[in-house]
Symmetry: C2
Subunit: 308 residues, 2 copies
C-alpha cells in the first residue's frame, strides 16, 4: 500500500501548468474507477481537456456509480479497448488531441497502436518511458528511465532514452540536467556491459550526439545520488551525488528501483512516454488520483517545452 | 626499399642515452648479417652491452665474413634458436641481462618463450608492441600500437596496450602523452565496435584505470594528427591534431599504417615490446642498422624511466 505522504515537488509541477490552456487529451478506455477518476480530476483541475474514448454507456454508468461529473467532458464512443485505442490515436493524427492518456487497458495494447508502422505515432526517436519521482529524502525530482517500455535496450536505444529524458527534464525547468548512467560499479569492465554502454553514452555527449545535458557513468546508485558517497570514492564528476536523471541498465533493475522508492521511501510518482508524436500519459494501476494529475502535468509542461 | 632519409627525432633518442651505462642486452640468435650488425653497432655506440646468445662458431664466422669486430662482446653458445631463446630468457631471470633483443628468428618463437607460464618473463601487464615512428612531415615522434603482437585485442588488452605506450612515451620525455584512439569515425556507433572501445578507454582514464595521459577517441586518423582536419570537424579535444600515441583498432590496420609511413612517407622506425619483465627489442627484417640502434635506445630510455 502506498503511503499517504505529501509530494510538494510534484504538486509544484501541477502549479506550473496554470498558465497553459488545458491539454486536449484522448483518454483511452477509462473503464475502471481509478482511470476515470484520474482523468476527471485532471480535467477539473484544468490540466487537461479530457476526451474520453471508450464504451460510452459503460463509462457513463461508471461515472454515476462513482459520483464523477462528466458534464463538460467529450465522450467518443468505441465498443472495446482495441477500437478505443485506434480512435484515440486517430484523434492525435487528425490534430484533434495533443496527448494520449492510458485508461484501463494493458500498456502493450496501447503501445502497439502507438508504434504501428502506418497508423501509429512514431517519430525518428525511439519511444521510452520516464518516471518522475518525488522522493522526500532527495532534494529535487528524480527522473528514472526506462523502467516501463524498453526491456533490454542496446546502446542506440539507450541514447534515445537519454535524449527523451533530457527533453523532459528541461521541460520541467532543469536548465542542464545531470544524467547518471547507472551500473553496479564506477569502473569500466567488459564483464559488465552496462559500464561499456555508459562510457559510450558519455562520449556520445562529448561528440554532440547527445546534447543539452551533463552525462556521467558508470555510477553505482550511491554515487549517483549521494555527494558523500561520491566523495568517498574520489569521483571527480559534476553528476555524481547530484543526478536529475538516472538511466537504468534495463527494465528489471529500473522497475525494482522505482518500486523500492515508492514502497520504502514514500516516493510519489508521475510518468510519461516520450518519443512519439505526442506525450503519452502512462499511469499504472496503483497510481492514486494525485499521481495521475501529476502525470498529466508532465504532459502539459512537455508539450509546452521551448516556451510556447 | 626504404628511403635514405635522416631521422633527427630518432637520432636524438640515441643522443639521450649517452648519460646511461650500456644496457646489458641478450641478443637472441643473431645469425644473419643485419641482426648481428645491428647488435654490434648498438654495442659499439655504447647503447647496449651485447651478450650474443646463439651458435658461437656460426656467429664468429658471420662476423668475420661481414667484417664485424666482436672483441669485447660476450658470446653464449647455444646450438639453435630454441636453445638461444631459452638461455637468453634465463639470463634475464637470473639478473644477468636487462633487455632482450631479437636476432634472426621468428618473433613468435621469441615471444612464446617470453610469455611462457613458468619460465617466462610475464608481469601483470599484458605484453604489447609499440612502434616509434619518425615521420618527417609530423613535428614529433609518433608512437603506434599495437601493430605487431596483439592481433584483435579486446577492451582489457587495449587498456594494457595503452598503458604500455604511455610508459614508453613518458620514458621518451613526453610529460603527458596525448593518446588518440583510432577508428574510422569520430562518433559512437555500435556498428563499429572500435568506437565503443574508444569511449570505454576514455572513461577508464577518467576513472583512474589508465593514468598519466590524455586520451581521446574515437578519432579518424586525419583528426588525430591534423589540427586543421580536427578544426573542420569542430572537435573539442586536446588530443585531436596533436597525438603522441595512436592506438590502432587491430594489428592489420596498424601494420598497414606503419608500412605506409615507412614506404610512402619516409618514416624511420624503432620498436619495443613492453609489458614483460624487461624491454624486448623487436627489430624487423627490413630494419637498417640505424633503426636497430634506435630501437636499442628505446630500451635504454625505457629501462631508465622514472629518473634512475
Amino acid at each position: 500500500m502506498k503511503a499517504n505522504t505529501t509530494h510538494d515537488k510534484l504538486e509544484l509541477l501541477i502549479e506550473r501548468c496554470k498558465p497553459f490552456a488545458p491539454l486536449r487529451t484522448a483518454v483511452v478506455h477509462p473503464c475502471d474507477e481509478p482511470a476515470l477518476a484520474g482523468a476527471v480530476a485532471a480535467h477539473q483541475a484544468r490540466i487537461i481537456q479530457a476526451i474520453l474514448v471508450g464504451p460510452a454507456e459503460r463509462i457513463r454508468a461508471l461515472a454515476q456509480s462513482a459520483g464523477l461529473a462528466l458534464d463538460d467532458i467529450s465522450l467518443v464512443d468505441a465498443p472495446h479497448s482495441h477500437a478505443a485505442t485506434e480512435q484515440a490515436v486517430a484523434l492525435v493524427r487528425t490534430g484533434q488531441a495533443d496527448a494520449l492518456m492510458k485508461g484501463s487497458l494493458h500498456t502493450d495494447e496501447l503501445m502497439a497502436a502507438v508504434v504501428h508502422e502506418d497508423a501509429g505515432l512514431r517519430t525518428e526517436r525511439r519511444i521510452s518511458h520516464v518516471f518522475v519521482m518525488d522522493v522526500p529524502t532527495y532534494p529535487k525530482l528524480l527522473l528514472i528511465t526506462d523502467a516501463a517500455v524498453n526491456i533490454v535496450p542496446d546502446l542506440e536505444v539507450k541514447a534515445d532514452i537519454v535524449r527523451n529524458a533530457i527533453d523532459l527534464a528541461c521541460a520541467l525547468g532543469v536548465a542542464t540536467p545531470k544524467v547518471a548512467i547507472l551500473s553496479a560499479v564506477e569502473t569500466i569492465t567488459s564483464k559488465l556491459p552496462s559500464t561499456i554502454d555508459a562510457a559510450a553514452l558519455c562520449k556520445m555527449a562529448e561528440r554532440g550526439q547527445i546534447v543539452g545535458a551533463l552525462l556521467d557513468g558508470p555510477l553505482a546508485l550511491d554515487n549517483a545520488i549521494s555527494r558523500h558517497a561520491a566523495a568517498i570514492k574520489n569521483l571527480s564528476s559534476v553528476v555524481a551525488g547530484d543526478a536529475d536523471v538516472l538511466l537504468v541498465p534495463d527494465l528489471e533493475a529500473g522497475n525494482m528501483l522505482v518500486k523500492e522508492l515508492v514502497y520504502l521511501a514514500n516516493a510519489g510518482t508521475a510518468g510519461l512516454v516520450l518519443g512519439a508524436r505526442v506525450p503519452i500519459i502512462l499511469t499504472s494501476r496503483a497510481d492514486n488520483s494525485g499521481d495521475r494529475v501529476a502525470s498529466c502535468a508532465l504532459a502539459v509542461l512537455y508539450a509546452h517545452r521551448g516556451g510556447d
